[in-house]
Symmetry: C2
DNA sequence: TTGAAAGCGCTAACAA
DNA sequence: TTGTTAGCGCTTTCAA
């Protein structure tokens, strides 16, 4: 920049003004500076600039996802990118892999890079240990789960209501022997409670409803489904709390040729769900909407909004495709 | 940092040494500095540090993907993250949406943030206009396509060979009326040439092979497939150059109840491909492998490797699942 | 409208 | 082993 100033025959501050499109520069000097910067292949250094700028903004944010390659995460990522790119904000993205230590390390890495804000899907039960004290005031938005031990906005799906809806949907089709398959009990507890709560309200003995949690992948979900279907009093309907669990159930049902006999409602929509046989009824979350709301909240906080933190609930949608509308064999 | 130094009663450089785990600090002073930094909630500022470090490394790279939410992109992203996180390098990710202007703007945004390297899946035909002159020497790795107008490493799938393999696979099952459905002719030209080239070698009149390109989404692929199937001399086998085109063909075949009559081989594997009816035969790329190689090349370049750039070819794999093994009706 | 000086938080080089 | 000084490239402040 100093070099450009010299070549253009102006002061260094004038170059800064031109590069940042600040007013009060005569068109003539503007042109001279632009010419010089082009000739010298000059490019403004945002990193150095952020050091002196008030608030030290870096125009970057950190995004902590369960896994960048998981479809829900990546759609969320995209929605957030869409909202931030127009403001010139770049996104650091990282995967946490259900590992609280990794979550903590990644938060530290982003804080060290002086991001202007953080969007995170928390893994750790409480954020007291993941967010160091000196950064509690950093603009932050939590997704999927409200923060514990920290005050910040959150954007969540209506998990309990949606799961209850799935339960009543299956009840309405005549099922009384239902089963719940889920991942981590702490994270997806809302879904389980919504589901079993509704069954209880309907007068079912919930202790007779098998609840299998801690299913971390497609294969363990498949195993769990096979086991239940092989037991006595096998379920006539499944509810799965996550897309890969749904995949496991689909496999189990297909293997046993029960796809058209046993009902299934899965949380999370997925590609080609309607092309399966039968089509898979799902509760579709709206990652695009969730990401958009989260990004907007983050921007508002970055812009100084200091209202009390709120939790925003984004409704999901039950999409009937066949598998959830099967009735139990008489 | 100055503050921590004062509280610990040491020089500022000693604090720097401790925070960066440099040697030659006595355990006693180390502890005093650590105590002080904890008491003051101090956190090292990497942004400021990068300003003075030799080579000005920021420990961040830019990753330019077609779309972060597309499964191929996000798996690639994950593989790159896996290779770079252990080195403490953070990843800026962004979507280009097939828009050369956006590509250029994002490159500029990352360069302005002084990333240590760039991984990109180029959209623009030539990179002369997207990579400004002053950054031609920045460590860079191209994915899916070799760079034009710039010298850099590239990592690609064996597109032509794989597509030729798909062609011979379909020929071996007795097909003579085949069709090719593809996205952008410039980007996926290798696949088309590999496919039609093999048919030519087998003695087919390739001018009679319908080639539909420019299919930008599932719906246009579906339309194209429906049209071909409704014409005279409908194809008995399809080759699709990309996962969403495969989806469109699957839809078209299902609508016409031809899923078990007309063969299909799709480029790119996808979730539940084996659960379709019939299972979908695909050429599976290995984004994990591609990403790993790309990240390793980038790290090598960052570490000063200055050998002549090379193109690395990562083999793909034809996975038989049924749809590609159907024979034409006699 | 323009420019000079100070300093953001840090690390390299060198001195003690 | 420790500390001092200079300066990375920029923007702010303030003076011209």
């Amino acid at each position: 920049m100093r070099h450009v100033a010299k070549v253009a025959g102006v002061g260094i501050k004038t170059v800064s003004r031109v590069m940042n499109d600040e007013p009060d520069v005569s068109e003539a000097t503007r042109q001279r500076v632009l010419d010089a910067s082009l000739r010298l292949n000059y490019q403004l250094d945002m990193v150095a600039g952020s050091l002196r700028r008030p608030g030290r903004q870096t125009l970057s944010i950190g995004l902590l996802l369960p896994r960048v390659a998981n479809p829900f995460s990546s759609r969320l990522h995209r929605a957030i990118e869409n909202a931030l790119t127009p403001r010139g904000i770049a996104v650091f993205a990282a995967s946490m892999d259900d590992d609280p230590d990794r979550e903590k390390a990644l938060v530290a890495a982003f804080l060290g890079r002086r991001v202007d804000g953080l969007v995170l899907t928390p893994i750790a039960r409480s954020q007291i240990h993941t967010i160091p004290e000196h950064s509690r005031a950093l603009p932050m938005v939590f997704i999927e789960r409200e923060p514990l031990g920290i005050d910040a906005d959150a954007v969540v799906t209506n998990n309990a209501v949606a799961a209850a809806h799935a339960a009543s949907h299956l009840l309405a089709h005549g099922h009384t022997r239902l089963a719940y398959l889920g991942d981590r009990a702490d994270i997806q507890g809302e879904r389980r409670r919504g589901f079993t709560g509704e069954l209880e309200r309907a007068g079912l003995y919930t202790y007779r409803i098998p609840v299998r949690e801690g299913l971390h992948n497609e294969e363990s979900a498949r195993q769990a489904a096979l086991e239940l279907l092989g037991g006595n009093e096998p379920p006539t309907a499944f509810f799965s709390s996550q897309h890969f669990i749904t995949f496991g159930v689909i496999r189990a049902l297909k293997e046993l040729r029960l796809s058209r006999k046993v009902a299934l409602v899965g949380f999370d929509d997925f590609a080609l769900a309607d092309m399966m046989d039968p089509g898979v009824t799902v509760i579709a979350q709206h990652p695009e909407r969730i990401g958009k709301v989260a990004a907007e909240r983050l921007l508002a906080r970055i812009d100084g909004d200091d209202r009390a933190p709120e939790t925003y609930v984004v409704p999901s949608e039950l999409i009937e495709r066949g598998s959830g509308e099967l009735s139990p064999a008489p």
